[in-house]
């Protein structure tokens, strides 16, 4: 028998790869067969060629967008976690503030972004603020839920042994919250990227040589559809990479005990 772990990993990689290969092949074939012009739908090979050819333009844009995303993600994680700790300190604080966290979540970022861009002088900072607003909610809500999801028996045990508040936090609440926190990170990382791209769109092309959204807008104006697709591809790849990184971190942190990271027994 093959090692089930290996088999599992192989399937995880192979199955989506087969789908992707089939879809790309069909796309390429259809475009060639019907001689679709590149300004409508470029063939995958054309997109790949543009990606390489325009790398001197697209590469720096990718860096700009990634920098905004990572900064926003970091801000969202730090502020979101602090807010969650604040919430579990007192029911009153949570009751008073939680609705505003929801408000932040349900208001579309495209509607807030122009205001933020007007209020915050530095455009780069403004973009980070917008993306962080989008990404912060899952961190707050998951971490709060996690910090509250303490096994009541263990809580009683800690009380019985007269654990200090700090001991309860470090030895009980934080480990209990960890699986929820990492779940929040996965969602937040994707949202930070979406937030960054949307904010770049709103900021537009005026004066600021920006990230991937700027390239998409420019390419659109110039009907440079292959480059538009190439930029789009980069956004997608960046999102996948972020997600994979979060999965990896969560695995590292939880693998030795949490059900979600255990390999299923067959």
């Amino acid at each position: 028998m093959t090692d089930p772990r290996r088999l599992d990993l192989a399937l995880r990689v192979a199955m989506p790869a087969v789908i992707a290969a089939a879809a790309l092949a069909a796309w390429e074939a259809l475009v060639r067969l019907y001689e679709v012009p590149a300004y409508l739908v470029p063939a995958p090979s054309e997109v790949a060629r543009t990606l390489v050819a325009d790398w001197s333009i697209l590469g720096p844009s990718l860096v700009v967008t990634l920098r905004t995303t990572l900064a926003a993600f970091a801000v969202a994680v730090v502020l979101g976690t602090l807010t969650a700790f604040l919430f579990v300190q007192s029911r009153w604080i949570e009751l008073a503030l939680f609705p505003y966290a929801v408000l932040l979540q349900v208001t579309p970022i495209v509607a807030i972004a122009p205001l933020v861009i007007i209020w915050v002088k530095d455009i780069q900072t403004a973009l980070v603020v917008c993306a962080a607003i989008v990404a912060i909610f899952p961190v707050i809500s998951n971490t709060t839920l996690g910090l509250r999801s303490v096994d009541p028996g263990l809580a009683a045990l800690f009380r019985m042994y007269r654990a200090s508040r700090l001991q309860q936090l470090v030895r009980l609440r934080i480990p209990s919250a960890a699986p929820y926190f990492f779940g929040g990170l996965r969602i937040a990382s994707g949202l930070a990227l979406i937030g960054a791209v949307v904010a770049e769109f709103v900021a537009g092309t005026g004066g600021h040589a920006g990230g991937l959204a700027y390239q998409i807008l420019q390419a659109g104006y110039q009907l440079n559809i292959p480059r538009l697709f190439a930029a789009l591809l980069l956004v997608t790849l960046a999102g996948i990479a972020l997600f994979a990184a979060m999965v990896g971190i969560s695995k590292l942190a939880l693998a030795h005990w949490h059900e979600s990271e255990l390999v299923a027994e067959r």
Partner: protein
């Protein structure tokens, strides 16, 4: 303990470890789990609570441990309040009905928890952890995680955690319920040995009449919900008790009396509830 000692003990009773006066519990939502209970447990006693399922044994035990506040009455430990628990000579340990282990911590870390919380140095606590794990037959499992153990093994980890602080009063809620007959008999014997060696005071909950008779100096029978003490049997067989005691006529007699009381208790409770 010989007969002379026993006689002496009855003349000069040992000090009370645990006193409950009118301890009652009504859960929020109006579930009356426990009628007022008066109870005194003296030093060196092994008192067992038995009663039908759901009659309030766990509730009473949690109140006796100070884990839950009674909705009426009061509890004293060594004549003092809960704030004095943990002082020298006033160590209390509790074994929950479920293992209640930290899934993210190794077996050794779980057992060491009470010592860690008391900020004991590793040099002092590690040998005690090893000794406690040896006592429950889990030496060599230090670095395992709870999920890698069977239910019964997890329960034994939780017993080791209770013993590691060297308690003076040990409260145990059906600790051996999940174990097979052989392991259970072995742990019963080990518990008795520990009890007499350390002059522990134990309050124990079980569903097994045999276990209750084998272990206890006194068995209290609770009625069906709302629980109240409806019978008491002193098991005045001498210690040490071995396998011979389990098959003696005296043993059978105690079991019969308890079984009758339990049948009565279940019947009256059912009418009352």
């Amino acid at each position: 303990m010989n007969l002379a000692e026993q006689a002496q003990r009855s003349v000069a009773p040992s000090p009370a470890v645990l006193t409950a006066r009118g301890a009652a519990k009504t859960y929020p939502g109006g579930v009356r789990a426990l009628e007022p209970v008066d109870l005194e447990v003296r030093e060196g006693e092994f008192v067992t609570l038995i009663g039908p399922s759901g009659c309030g044994k766990s509730t009473l035990l949690r109140i006796l441990a100070g884990l839950a506040a009674p909705s009426g009455g009061e509890i004293r430990w060594w004549g003092g309040g809960a704030d004095r628990l943990g002082e020298p000579g006033r160590h209390l340990s509790f074994v929950f009905q479920d293992p209640t282990l930290m899934p993210w911590a190794s077996v050794a870390a779980n057992v060491r928890l009470p010592l860690d919380l008391a900020r004991r140095a590793r040099g002092e606590s590690d040998p005690r952890v090893a000794a406690a794990l040896g006592l429950v037959g889990l030496g060599g499992f230090e670095s395992s995680y709870p999920r890698q153990l069977s239910g019964g093994m997890q329960m034994r980890v939780s017993i080791a955690r209770a013993l590691v602080t060297d308690p003076d009063l040990l409260l145990m809620d059906e600790p051996f319920g999940a174990l097979d007959e052989i392991t259970r008999a072995r742990l019963d014997a080990d518990l008795l040995a520990l009890w007499s060696r350390r002059r522990l005071t134990v309050v124990f909950v079980t569903h097994s009449i045999y276990e209750a008779v084998f272990l206890s100096t006194r068995v209290l029978v609770l009625s069906a919900r709302p629980g109240r003490i409806v019978g008491e049997v002193a098991i005045d067989a001498p210690f040490p008790r071995g396998d011979a005691f389990r098959v003696s006529t005296g043993f059978a007699g105690f079991c019969q009396r308890l079984s009758d009381l339990l049948a009565q208790a279940s019947a009256t409770g059912a009418v009352g509830a």
